[in-house]
């Protein structure tokens, strides 16, 4: 039976092929967040100080919550439900950038990766707040406010560790050299981008990358870190991943796929 209520925020139906193009964008955002949230959660109980442990647990929870929000929007566009999307797809079906699937590494790598990701998310969300598709614009505005705390946290750690000691600098520089090419992969062109841009859903990925570099380079410089000259690692947004995603998903999806049909 149709609802008798007016729907002030009702999802505006999208015609194909725009529906599929917007779905590609949401899938990339959701997959990035759910996997980074999982990597962050691997620090729970292991972080260098208790305060950092609490922070990583909280950040992991936020990222996974954001993933559920993006998967929910996908569901409204006709994709399966969030649990099915997260737990019952295989590596080639994931559209995350390779940055988020890399192992958690040392604390320096975790901080550098989170920093590069948080600022990429910031510029993306700020752009999407002006998206022509209202449900996406509203969700972006909501998530952007929450991200304020992640940005404060990762920026402060980068500035602290960049030139604290010889060892911290060495580890941070090594982390940046490893993470940077994969971080550029966050802006890999995806199917439907030109249509999304034409329809006002998002600005071009190249433009987002330029805005992101303008934000992160001065902070990295202030932390005495040198940005490497490197080509982007692409492929993640097209389902071509590193071997690390197999191991991550084997762990992350194990309980859901055990076939016991648990309910909570």
């Amino acid at each position: 039976m149709a609802s008798p209520f007016p729907k002030p925020n009702e999802t505006v139906a999208l015609p194909d092929p725009l529906r599929e193009a917007v779905g590609e964008l949401l899938l990339a955002m959701a997959d990035d967040e759910v996997l980074l949230g999982h990597r962050d959660s691997e620090w729970v109980g292991h972080a260098p100080i208790l305060e950092a442990d609490i922070a990583m647990a909280s950040i992991a929870q936020d990222e996974i919550g954001h993933a559920v929000l993006w998967y929910s929007l996908l569901q409204e566009l006709g994709w399966p439900d969030p649990d099915r999307m997260a737990y019952f797809r295989d590596p080639p079906e994931f559209r995350n950038a390779t940055l988020v699937e890399l192992p958690k590494g040392d604390w320096a790598f975790t901080i550098v990766r989170q920093f590069l990701f948080d600022f990429a998310e910031k510029v993306r969300l700020e752009a999407l707040m002006a998206s022509a598709w209202a449900p996406l614009a509203e969700a972006a505005a909501k998530v952007r406010r929450e991200e304020t705390y992640h940005l404060m946290h990762s920026r402060a750690w980068v500035l602290r560790l960049g030139d604290a000691t010889e060892e911290s600098h060495r580890r941070m520089q090594a982390a940046l050299e490893q993470a940077w090419p994969h971080a550029l992969g966050l802006f890999e062109p995806t199917p439907g981008e030109s249509l999304r841009v034409a329809e006002g859903i998002q600005p071009p990925e190249a433009e987002l990358r330029a805005r992101w570099e303008a934000e992160v380079r001065p902070i990295l410089e202030a932390a005495s870190l040198r940005v490497p000259e490197a080509e982007p690692v692409y492929g993640g947004r097209h389902g071509r991943h590193t071997e690390h995603l197999d191991a991550l998903l084997a762990d992350f999806q194990m309980v859901a796929r055990s076939g016991l049909g648990e309910t909570w």
Binding site: F5, G65, A141
Partner: protein, 165 residues
């Protein structure tokens, strides 16, 4: 489940929802937190617009389930809770009753939320125990997404603060 036949009205629903608490802040209701944006009643069907504080808050499902149960207990046949993000929830939506209840739990309520949140919102935050502003932020993150950790130099007590959002 049908009640004594009292009219299913918007006001009756809002009153019933005052019994729905945030399980992580168990003395504060969803109404006082400002999470209920709108209630629409149409015959025996009710629709509630519910705004999350933090999107990843694990208590959202618990609160939504209890909202449905409380409204069904009023005699509603169909209840739908819709998550809304426009306008985004901010801590300014909390009423004074919520702020007082937070203080009693040892959680400093948030100050008026500026357009852009910076670390300045945490400077000299009054201690919920002694009221001193000789306090310092220890961790932006705490036991839940919405809380940060502080220390009061005056009464030497750790305390929590609800994060501005």
């Amino acid at each position: 489940m049908v009640s004594d036949g009292a009219a299913l009205t918007r006001e009756a629903v809002l009153t019933a929802l005052e019994a729905v608490k945030d399980p992580e802040i168990p003395t504060v209701s969803v109404v006082d937190l400002g999470l209920i944006y709108e209630v629409r009643v149409n015959g025996d069907e009710v629709e509630v617009d519910f705004a999350p504080t933090f999107v990843g808050c694990p208590a959202l499902h618990v609160m939504e389930r209890e909202i449905v149960e409380r409204i069904q207990a009023l005699g509603a046949r169909r209840v739908q809770v819709r998550r809304v993000y426009r306008p985004p929830w901010t801590a300014d939506r909390m009423n004074e009753r919520a702020r007082q209840a937070l203080r009693e739990l040892g959680i400093a309520p948030p100050r008026p939320v500026p357009a852009e949140i910076t670390l300045a919102v945490f400077e000299r935050l009054p201690c919920p125990f002694c009221g001193s502003t000789d306090t310092r932020m220890e961790n932006l993150f705490g036991p839940t997404s919405c809380r940060a950790l502080f220390y009061c130099n005056a009464c030497q007590q750790p305390f929590e603060a609800f994060k501005p959002l």
